[in-house]
């Protein structure tokens, strides 16, 4: 008998799989039996992850903001069987205070973190609607709910994802497709490695759990939402933040 959260025979697309959190999500879905399509801009990192995972791992190098990229990624996934799970994880930051923010900083973050996610979700829907099953998981952020100085663009895009997910969830709930968000707090990645010890201590003190998050903490939340067991959970945002914001 299949265990809990079994994804055997399912195909999952994970965008931004070359990054720390994306890689952990891909590993987690793959470990439960899913075939994973790893997308991102950096071929080397994707190839390395695919080699580590072995079979059931496919690389599609793509910039999700480019026209036609969403359709290409979905077509590649559908070729492997059927696209069952989409994890919109790819994201960028262009942090600066609002007064100093250039239009390009604003637009770049909105394009990658919001518009590209919509396009991928839209492209995924056709097959999911036909099969009456699908899981769309959008990786948002704690700052999309709480705000954060220096991240007006990022916070807007991440809050946008939450609204988008709710509207889409309402449209397609009757077709067995769920749309949810996972909102990580501060996770130890290359980004937080750049902080000095004092900065990291200050950050950790704001987290009741007493530590930064691990990519695996986020991946576990994604796995739950991707599973058949989570079929009645839709339009929700699952906060994974060590208690930093209780919403």
């Amino acid at each position: 008998m299949a265990g809990a959260f079994d994804l055997d025979g399912q195909v999952a697309v994970v965008t931004g799989a070359s990054g720390g959190i994306g890689g952990a999500i891909a590993r987690s879905l793959h470990a439960q039996g899913a075939t994973v399509v790893l997308t991102g801009r950096r071929r080397e990192a994707l190839d390395a992850l695919a080699a580590e995972l072995g079979e059931r791992a496919h690389v599609v190098v793509a910039d999700t903001t480019e026209e036609g990229a969403a359709e290409k990624i979905v077509a590649e996934a559908e070729k492997l069987g059927s696209l069952d799970i989409l994890v919109n994880n790819a994201g960028i930051t262009r942090d600066t205070l609002a007064m100093r923010m250039k239009d390009a900083d604003w637009a770049g973050v909105i394009d990658t973190n919001l518009t590209a996610c919509f396009r991928l979700a839209r492209a995924s829907l056709k097959g999911m609607m036909k099969r009456r099953h699908g899981r769309i998981i959008n990786i948002t952020s704690i700052v999309g709910v709480t705000g954060n100085a220096g991240q007006t663009n990022y916070a807007a895009a991440k809050a946008g994802l939450i609204g988008m997910s709710k509207a889409m969830a309402a449209e397609i709930a009757a077709r067995g497709i769920t749309v949810n968000c996972v909102a990580p707090g501060f996770v130890a990645t290359a980004m937080t490695d750049a902080l000095d010890e004092k900065q990291r201590d200050a950050l950790t003190q704001r987290i009741p759990a007493g530590r930064l998050g691990k990519p695996e903490d986020v991946a576990a939340a994604c796995l739950y939402l991707a599973s058949r067991e989570a079929g009645w959970v839709t339009g929700q945002t699952l906060h994974v933040n060590g208690g930093m914001a209780m919403i």
């Binding site: 056709k126 609607m129 449209e171 397609i172 009757a174 077709r175």
Partner: protein, 77 residues
Amino acid sequence: MSDIAERVKKIVVEHLGVDEAKVTENASFVDDLGADSLDTVELVMAFEEEFGCEIPDDAAEKILTVKDAINYIQEHG
């Protein structure tokens, strides 16, 4: 009956899971065949795929019955 009409009816039967006998030319998708707004979007997408055409939103809004669909595809397909 034309080939187009047969194909349209087949799609409607498959997508809405209704009895073939109910899918008459004058049947309204919403009122007679129980389609909701999402069903009508799916139907239009299925027509587009089957007949290799694109049905713009303003035209799709006017496709309310089986006959409307057949007529549109005969004219534009």
